[in-house]
């Protein structure tokens, strides 16, 4: 069931590749807009880079949340999935993982290239990429709760941002903080450990919560 969901969602995403690319290009454009807004001063850009990349990743991941359940809800697949005797948490976990593979992984792969634009050092690039690798799955998992709660509501897209962005804050702080700590010579280990802890906690708690939320929304 778990792998079946991932395979199915990836297949669907591959058949509509423009959706995946739109999220990725949104990420690239947001990151590229900041130097235009604040000026091309390299020292400032270097200190801003982790925060900018992380905020852009938050927004990009959030924007694509609507697709996680919406199309399945519209054509009735989601109802069938809820009726199936399989564990609902595993289903949600599969969908969140598929969402991460489709939106999170391209962001992680793209981040070093954007980091070079901001003149980051090689070590900072590595830390930024690893922090995104640990943090973006958390975004997909927490986002699943918001997506499940706002399923089928009018203005769901804006609403999901109000619900989910405050909950993303710890990931943002420690994700961007990891790069700053490593640049300050403190080492990124503590931040990475905390990001890992968030990942483990959200893997355990978020699918269950999102499953319960789906049941509420589908009643």
């Amino acid at each position: 069931m778990f792998f079946w969901i991932i395979r199915r969602d990836l297949l669907l995403a591959m058949r509509r590749r423009s959706d995946v690319l739109t999220t990725l290009f949104f990420f690239i454009i947001v990151v590229s807009l900041f130097p235009l807004g604040v000026g091309p001063e390299m020292n400032m850009l270097r200190t801003m880079a982790p925060g900018v990349v992380w905020v852009a990743a938050l927004l990009a991941s959030m924007l694509s949340l609507g697709r996680m359940f919406a199309s399945d809800h519209l054509d009735g697949t989601l109802e069938q999935m809820l009726l199936s005797p399989q564990s609902l948490s595993m289903l949600v976990l599969g969908k969140a993982l598929a969402h991460w593979l489709v939106t999170g992984v391209p962001l992680v792969l793209m981040a070093p290239v954007l980091g070079i634009q901001y003149d980051l050092t090689g070590e900072a690039l590595l830390v930024l990429t690893v922090s995104l690798l640990l943090g973006t799955p958390v975004l997909s998992l927490i986002g699943a709760i918001g997506a499940a709660l706002t399923l089928g509501l009018r203005g769901g897209g804006v609403l999901v941002s109000l619900l989910v962005l405050p909950l993303y804050i710890p990931v943002l702080i420690f994700g961007a903080g990891a790069v700053e700590a490593s640049a300050a010579g403190l080492g990124a280990g503590a931040h990475m450990s905390l990001l890992g802890a968030f990942l483990l906690a959200s893997v355990v708690l978020a699918p269950w919560t999102a499953g319960a939320s789906l049941r509420i929304s589908m009643e």
């Binding site: 709760i145 709660l149 706002t150 509501l153 009018r154 203005g155 769901g156 609403l159 109000l162 619900l163 962005l165 405050p166 909950l167 804050i169 710890p170 702080i173 420690f174 903080g177 905390l194 968030f198 708690l205 919560t209 319960a212 939320s213 509420i216 929304s217 009643e219």
Partner: protein, 248 residues
Amino acid sequence: MAINWFKYSSPASFYFLAGKMIPLFSIAAIVLGAAGLYIGFFVAPTDFQQGEAYRIIFIHVPAAWLSMFLYVIMAIWSGIGLAFNTRLSSMVATAIAPTGAMFTFLALWTGALWGKPMWGTWWVWDARLTSELILLFLYIGFMSLQAAIDDPRRADKAGAMIALVGVVNIPIIYFSVKWWNTLHQGATVSLTQSPKMATTMLTGMLIMSLACWMYAIAVILIRTRAIILERERHTAWVGELQLQGATR
């Protein structure tokens, strides 16, 4: 003699109980508020470091306390509503949210007014200020989610879910923000240590907190009554109320 507490978990009987309790809590709020303000403005001494500006704590600290307490209480009622499927608990949770958001805003606003003369700036990105701001976002998220859902039962449950997720996240957010940056002074009042402030100031602040509590309870009861009437408008007892033309 055992009291049947569950009697009041029915919206119909709670409606009348709340109607009797509202005047009590309102009067208590007015009396305590007057006493607290009197102590705050006339009895409490001028602070030797901060001058008169410190007097804003008489509303700032109670508002900040209540903003946090009310969120926890809202989450508890949401959880009870979700677990036992009691309509009244969810209605109370819905009624708490606007008051909680108001106190959060008040704490931020009075904090800014205090910060300008003391720190020389309206706003700093400090741990406590930021987490209070995030608390305001959580309240707004809760209210807008409930407002967006037309079916009241689904609104109750979805709101309960986000309130509970928020309550799990608040400690995480609080500590992450705390490690991120801190300027705000530590807690002055704690249960484990003797207070680090003049007794009259502390008395004034505690009385003002009680006044804010009473005000919050009164307003929440009034709002709960309005929600009960709105949700139960098709029932017989609301119809009878309408026939009598009575509001109480």
